[in-house]
Symmetry: C2
DNA sequence: GTACTTTCTGGAATCAGTCAAGAAACGGGG
DNA sequence: CCCCGTTTCTTGACTGATTCCAGAAAGTAC
């Protein structure tokens, strides 16, 4: 898989790749933690480098909802989007109803050559929704501190 | 306008508000610069505070494409989205073709209560498109360093 | 196995934004 | 028009996420 992308096969890369495959939507810190649990000492720099290399090679996808650190997932190539919980930051995948390339038909593209439409749905996940059932409205949403 | 939102009228607020109205999609740094040019010394902290206050009050909207610092615009209330140039970071407004609430019909919402769909189109702006006309394909896109 | 290149280590540095304490400014009541 | 209480601004330190750098180590091709 790495070789297919003309990338050298190293322990950190293998570990990061399998971590991202095992759990989608992990943030960088969590990935560093899991990789270290797997391999022992690995510099954070190495993980950042690996994630960038994998992202560039198209083996993983990087997502970064506003107010959240970068997250990575292994579902690539298909056109799917994400729902983000305003309360706890949980992320889930969404296949857009519109089909292959949703919303790519902008009404007026201002001359831009558009190649991708990125959609982020904002809402509240089932867990948080039931947790704050008594007072659904006035809990000022953290929007940060996300940690899946 | 500020009074309407139960906000005290101060010089920094007036300046920030008119700056954001004058030029949409400015990043925080640029706003600080323009406000200082207008008023003299103003602390960056004040601008951050003002921007947050205005955002919370719904007088301005905050947008933050991946890899770019926060930007602000005065078009609020309507449902519009943005195109971002991969090359120079320029941003333009887009009224989604689907109508009022585009793409809000996710195929499977995983139990989330969705209240907003945020769409960001990625592409290349007319300027960059003509500038790199000779070699349209292999200019590795900076994706950062955006500065409108 | 050896040489060359890419990648990883360790540490410092940057960038965007937040926190905290005290000073200054706003605006309602006298 | 001035005073007072609250909100907002100033100053300056600080955090979190990410990047930059130089040298050491590990992959790969021959």
């Amino acid at each position: 898989m790495l070789r297919g992308a003309t990338l050298r096969v190293t322990r950190p890369r293998l570990s990061v790749l399998s971590t991202v495959h095992a759990q989608p939507h992990l943030d960088t810190d969590s990935i560093i933690g899991l990789v270290r649990a797997d391999l022992g000492d690995v510099s954070h720099q190495a993980v950042y480098d690996v994630l960038r290399a994998l992202t560039t090679a198209g083996l993983v996808r990087r997502i970064q909802p506003t107010g959240s650190p970068a997250r990575y997932e292994s579902r690539v190539g298909d056109n799917h989007h994400h729902v983000v919980c305003r309360s706890c930051g949980a992320i889930a995948d969404i296949d857009c109803a519109v089909g292959e390339a949703p919303c790519l038909t902008a009404s007026d593209d201002h001359g831009f050559t558009i190649d991708e439409a990125e959609v982020i749905y904002w809402g509240v996940c089932p867990d948080c929704s039931t947790a704050t059932h008594i007072d659904t409205a006035h809990t000022d949403p953290p929007r940060k501190d996300s940690r899946v």
